[in-house]
Symmetry: C5
Subunit: 337 residues, 5 copies
């Protein structure tokens, strides 16, 4: 089982955070000592423990012990995993990919896993930094519904934020496609080609992340898990619709990108044809003429009447002009020039 580990980041520090809240109260604890946090868990509140960084095994072991987490699930949290949902006796397990995009750079994927219990939610992230800061603030200020709801609604909100960010990334690719489409007919440099290939590659990776994401959330909706209250299923169902919408967009963008490739290749071919046409026109006009002038450059001493004739030179010019003219007329007729 020691294979496909997530990439190691030995020097990164682990960040541990506990948010406990109910309608009346809200507290947040940050500590590098997991025991301190576990002491602050509160039975009558929702407890959200977030862990950034997965390479400090003692912490994870303590959490595992405290919440009786199944060893297979912990392995799934620590290793690169296909997005999935799995129900255990005492909790529900969801693992997803969270996307980041720093403007212009490649998309960055981070695995995030959730364990939802009756009154707690654990979230495990590979590295520091996430998309939830604005939402943490909303909890603190008691905005929206979250303080009035249970832990399953908290899970819904976090997944919703993650899925919403997929929209940003996809929209960004959509804009790139439009930009490229505008410039592709004038600019057939290698750069354009690289850009299209880069988009294609990103869509391939998004495809790999999105389809299992849809399945994982779909399972949440259809399995009628006891950890999700019936009144909240509609929220997960809404996220599920979003993932299907995302997949539709993804497939549309794949089609559009492959259209872009067609345009690129066609533009390149058209240019090549143009080049070859020019070569042919010039060659076809001048090669016969060069032959003619070659003829009268010969040094035969006898029986070479044209050379001696009075109007040989102007006649040759007229013949050559006639040949060139009819060639040009022929090319005009063929619409080559």
């Amino acid at each position: 089982m020691e294979h496909h580990h997530l990439p190691e980041k030995p020097n990164e520090q682990v960040i541990l955070e506990l948010i406990t809240y109910n309608r009346e109260k809200y507290d947040m604890f940050t500590s590098s000592d997991v025991d301190v946090l576990l002491k602050n868990l509160s039975e009558e509140r929702i407890n959200w423990i977030n862990l950034d960084g997965l390479n400090v095994s003692p912490i994870i072991e303590k959490i595992q012990a405290h919440f009786c987490l199944h060893s297979l699930m912990v392995e799934d949290i620590l290793n690169d995993q296909r997005p999935k949902t799995e129900e255990f006796e005492d909790y529900l397990f969801v693992t997803l990919k969270m996307l980041y995009r720093i403007e212009g750079a490649e998309i960055d994927y981070e695995q995030i896993s959730f364990v939802l219990g009756s009154n707690f939610l654990l979230s495990f992230q590979e590295k520091e930094g996430d998309l939830f800061n604005a939402f943490r603030e909303r909890i603190r200020l008691d905005q929206g519904r979250v303080r009035k709801k249970k832990a399953d609604y908290l899970l819904y909100r976090l997944i919703d934020i993650i899925v919403d960010n997929y929209y940003n990334v996809l929209d960004n690719i959509g804009e790139q496609i439009e930009e490229t489409e505008e410039c592709i007919r004038t600019d057939t440099s290698m750069e354009t080609f690289k850009k299209i290939q880069q988009m294609k590659k990103e869509l391939i990776y998004l495809h790999k992340a999105l389809y299992p994401l849809r399945d994982a959330i779909g399972k949440l909706v259809k399995d009628e898990s006891s950890f999700i209250q019936e009144e909240n299923v509609r929220y997960f169902s809404d996220v599920y619709d979003h993932t299907i919408h995302l997949i539709d967009s993804l497939e549309t963008y794949r089609d559009l990108t492959s259209s872009l490739m067609d345009i690129y290749i066609n533009t390149q071919n058209t240019r090549l044809n143009e080049v070859i046409r020019l070569l042919t026109i010039i060659s076809t006009i001048f090669i016969p003429l060069t032959f003619i002038v070659g003829v009268y450059g010969m040094n035969f001493k006898h029986n070479f009447p044209e050379i001696e004739s009075e109007y040989g030179y102007p006649i040759v010019w007229m013949v050559m002009i006639a040949i060139a003219g009819s060639m040009i007329a022929f090319f005009r007729h063929k619409k080559w020039i």
Copy 2:
């Protein structure tokens, strides 16, 4: 959830309209004040409220409050959504894309959402103008069945009108394909290529709109919703058949468009081959001849018998004609000319 908003149109005015009718009576109210309209709702009639423009939130909030609309659903109405059907406790929700095509221009997509209750139908459109004017007149004049039926039949008629317009758009593409096919072998300009690409792109977007449309209407038919009377299911089923027929046509057009691309590329290649063949023929005939005349243009002073010979010049001509002739015979044999 603030992500994929529909495009903002800040200056557009909101248009509110209420049509209430039953077998005996018909009234229509237009107002920018939603309270006025809500007062005119009539329990024993069918009430159709239509809203054009989604950017004035107080109006939408009032409608939401009056009809107790679920907040997730209102978000779906306001944001770009995949066509879908969802049943709530007190109403049925349907959201679709309505197509417009101004001759020659790209297809324009507008999201339209319906909320069907026991005796009311709400319709939310992004912008002013729709496909329903002729139908409104039919209601007023009591033509057809609509005044004798409930709100679900009204919903059917509106969806049917929207789906019918998909036929217009697809037929239009079908005609374009036929036109292009006729001219493609004579005109391989970049214009033709752009036209094919444009069609391909439109079919990609139609694909994105049509498949979920089919699913949404299929769900209406299969779910046996209590908001649709059993006697009217057959009507929705008929619209469902139309969406499948549309998808068949769409796929046929996709195949035909890709055939067009094949023809385009083949025509281009054939032309390129022709050009290169001409270049080869001219070069192959004249390059050897030019070499020969070059030989007798050399200035060697000794041992250059041809130059001195009596019939050198005419013999060279005969040799050259023989070479050119056999070349031409060879090309004839190869069917190049």
Copy 3:
């Protein structure tokens, strides 16, 4: 609903025909007055009313009234429809495409709709002429089982005849593919290409007709409709197997056609390569030689020893022959000639 009408044929006449039969008796009436025919319907016989031409609405309205046909179904009969089967309370509705192929011409599609009641069968055709004449004769002469069976067997026989004609059309395409395959390597004219494209197009349209046909007949078999007696289900099941067989053949032909395209393109490329190779060989041999003879055509007056030398001319010839010879050896080595 006024959209996708079948093409109008205003001048065509409507042909009405009634065949009534049982084991003992057989009668046929032809009339342009529908009332006359309806009077001749016989309760204890099978009544087959056939209508060619759909543009005379009074006739259709009378039939609709007499048999209480649903308005949606009549619309489906009159408009271009996806092949489908629908069961109503008092009858079963089947609509299909009937194929015609006049030798060498494109395939012609005609919509035919059937309404099967307890003791009657209505058939609606777009235009005059069908595939049933030989079968009508068999009924009259009491050949085969049809006079001993009910109206559902009559429907089976008609559908079977229609489906059998699909075989003819597909077999014809199969023969064309074989013919083309034989001549494709010698004849790469534009004509061959057009022929392949034409086949591809016909297969696209057949695809559009065949898949829904299979679904429609499959529904007949699986729905256990009360209008089809259990002992006759096996017959429809046999037709259903035929449609699947047809689809297999269709897909095989699509694969073969795309193979043909590959062969065509490859042959074209091979020819282009040949042309370019010839150009290269001729140019590569003669361009250097032309340079050499050019050198000795220069008019330098001093220090130009070769010109003056005794054996300059023959030596130059030997050098040139050596160059040409080694070039040819090189091409031989490369297997270009």
Copy 4:
């Protein structure tokens, strides 16, 4: 129903054969008179009637009458059919394609149909000769389990022999693919291309035979037919697994063949590039040089200092060598030579 007949072979003789056996006894009768055979049927033994040649209708009619075969089934036996399984009241009907391959030739398909009753098995083959001779000998010598089992086991054995022969044919194609792959980079002749196309075509036809074969045998396994004893289902299930394995191999070979096509095309392109590169190199070096020597071949009488100069000729040579040298250096840099 008179359409897709199997190809007629009017002169071929019909061969009729009856093998009856049980644990103790074994008899074989060959006769051209069906009545003789039918008399030898034995109630307490397994009776296997094999018929080679389907064009003598009296024989088939007698068999049909004796075993009460359904007319639709007899039509299926006589006409080209999609492999399928159908259960009738008194027997089970299976029709398949049997493959032959004479080394180097195209694959030959023969339709074979089985009718399995409680104590008899009928087999109908299109033409003389089959794969069962070794197996007939095994029955006679009482090798293996067949004499201890019922007619369903006999059917299993025959189908198993047929399916096993698919392996031979597919393995043969696999070997061809490997052979072609080895020689494809050195030999890009039209022959190689034809070979690949031939393999592709054979795989298309195998595809058409294999998928319905899998469905037919799968139906045997899943339908729990009363004609197959429960203890023998596992045998049919084993054949079913073989058909799925065959399909896997088929798809693998299709992928490999299309890879071969890619390699072929790439090799061709690489060669074309090489040719064009040679042309470009020779032309680019010599065309400018030819121009230079042309300059000094001009006959201007005044102001033409180079001609008169002492070292004109050697300087021109040096210039030309410099140009040619830098061209070659440029090509080296570009890695063209």
Copy 5:
């Protein structure tokens, strides 16, 4: 049934090994005599018999007899088989492909079959050497859970090790893809192409192994076999998730490889265009100039004023420079140079 045998390795020796263990005890026996091993089987322990080499039939017959193995299953063990799971009355049968990859070489596939009984596990391998040595050591040292669990857990661990090795192989291909992507734009040699083709081929074979593997393990999970304890199903379910993850990666790599092909082809085309552009530029500039100098190389004796004129020569130079200059300007404008 004698067809698709696994490749014969007549000289390879058979290796027989028995490991018996429970919580308290552990014993291992190696022998070439199967009877010795069978005597050491222990009722109250888990017995794992491993056989390397399948070509010594007496051994297999003895094992078959001792464990009452079904003859069809033994055939499946001995012949090349699609990965599958089959439940028999007294044991569960699983057959898979085990992958080896020696660095740089092609992937090697070995068939491994398992027979799981109530307290025994048989494993049959084609040849010596497997992936289990480290695991055998873990059993001996009583590390992990295996000594505390039943034979089904042992089966899980072995399958898990095999599936884990698929990750290694796939990751290796992933790295190769990245490497190739980096060098593909600078190095378009045939080598790169061969590398891409090799990867494609490996992915085709992996595809053939992985999809049935997923089905086989999925059947283990879903069939609720009595040979797998309920508490252990989750383990097999985890392996099942891994196979799905592997398939996702495989499809991603297939997409990436085909992207690589696109890049390769595009780079080749870009290079060809460059070559042809150079040819055209050189030809277009010098061919007209060569014609001009040819004109003044003619030997006309009368009416050839330029030759006689004072400044003919320098004027011709100026004309030629003007022509060349405007050509170059034209190419600059076209962005060809």
